[in-house]
């Protein structure tokens, strides 16, 4: 059985907590494992806050579309925004083998998402950035 939740999130950091609450409650009601809930929270936090900080040059209100799909033991999360073209998968990965003095502070958000999911794909479709994150549980 496939179930879907669709959320529209405004490009503001204040929009993250209510979106997260809705998504996590929906997942918990459907018996999703704690790691699935954590992954979805991380996706919302990382991708929406990236959008808020970097995606828009016009200062206007924009909407980020989030869809959470549960199908048997597969979680799929789709994030679509109409911001500037940005392929998060093209960003360099942090070197996590460095010691404290050498570590730089960037790139951790996407690294976490890559490592906690099975697959992430990015596509630019018209004027939209489309990211799909998949995880099998």
């Amino acid at each position: 059985m496939t179930e879907r939740l669709a959320l529209r999130i405004t490009n503001a950091l204040s929009a993250i907590p209510p979106a997260t609450e809705q998504a996590t409650a929906w997942l918990e009601d459907r018996g999703a494992p704690a790691s699935a809930v954590f992954l979805v929270e991380l996706i919302v936090e990382e991708l929406v806050s990236n959008c808020v900080k970097f995606a828009y040059a016009d200062g206007d209100t924009h909407v980020i579309d989030l869809e959470v799909i549960l199908s048997d033991a597969i979680l799929t999360v789709m994030v679509v925004d109409d911001g500037l073209p940005f392929d998060p998968l093209a960003a360099p990965q942090p070197d996590t083998s460095l010691n404290l003095e050498e570590r730089s502070i960037g790139g951790l958000g996407l690294h976490l998402l890559r490592m906690l999911s099975d697959e992430i794909t990015y596509e630019r479709q018209g004027d939209k950035n489309c990211l799909v994150v998949t995880k099998r549980f």
Partner: protein, 119 residues
């Protein structure tokens, strides 16, 4: 996120509760840096009640750890949940931070690092 401070001997413990995310991270970084600037050499972060950590939270810990190290001190982590521990591992934090399963172990290690005598 709520942060409450307490002392165990010469070691300052910050007990964190809630989400270490875009909202909570700057406050945590500020608190740790205040303590380091005031002369603390070991700050233990009690993660037992932290349900979620994002990259902002990791950045706050990394930046304040660098500041602590530059001042001859350290930030230690105690009792992260399995999911939070996994995030630390993915970020390579095990090699740059002291992460302990229990508060007692973290406080003991912090005391040893500051050269303090246990009460």
């Amino acid at each position: 996120m709520n942060i409450s401070a307490s002392q165990r001997g010469s070691v300052t413990v910050l007990a964190l509760e809630g989400r270490l995310d875009t909202t909570g991270a700057p406050e945590l970084q500020g608190r740790i840096e205040q303590l380091i600037a005031a002369g603390d050499r070991a700050v233990v972060l009690d993660f037992a009640a932290v349900k979620f950590v994002s990259s902002e939270g990791l950045r706050a810990i990394l930046v304040s750890s660098k500041r602590a190290a530059a001042a001859g001190g350290a930030v230690l982590v105690a009792a992260p949940s399995p999911l939070v521990r996994e995030v630390f591992d993915i970020a390579g934090f095990a090699r740059i931070l002291d992460i302990h399963l229990t508060m007692d172990a973290a406080v003991e290690r912090a005391g040893a690092r500051t050269g303090a005598v246990r009460p």
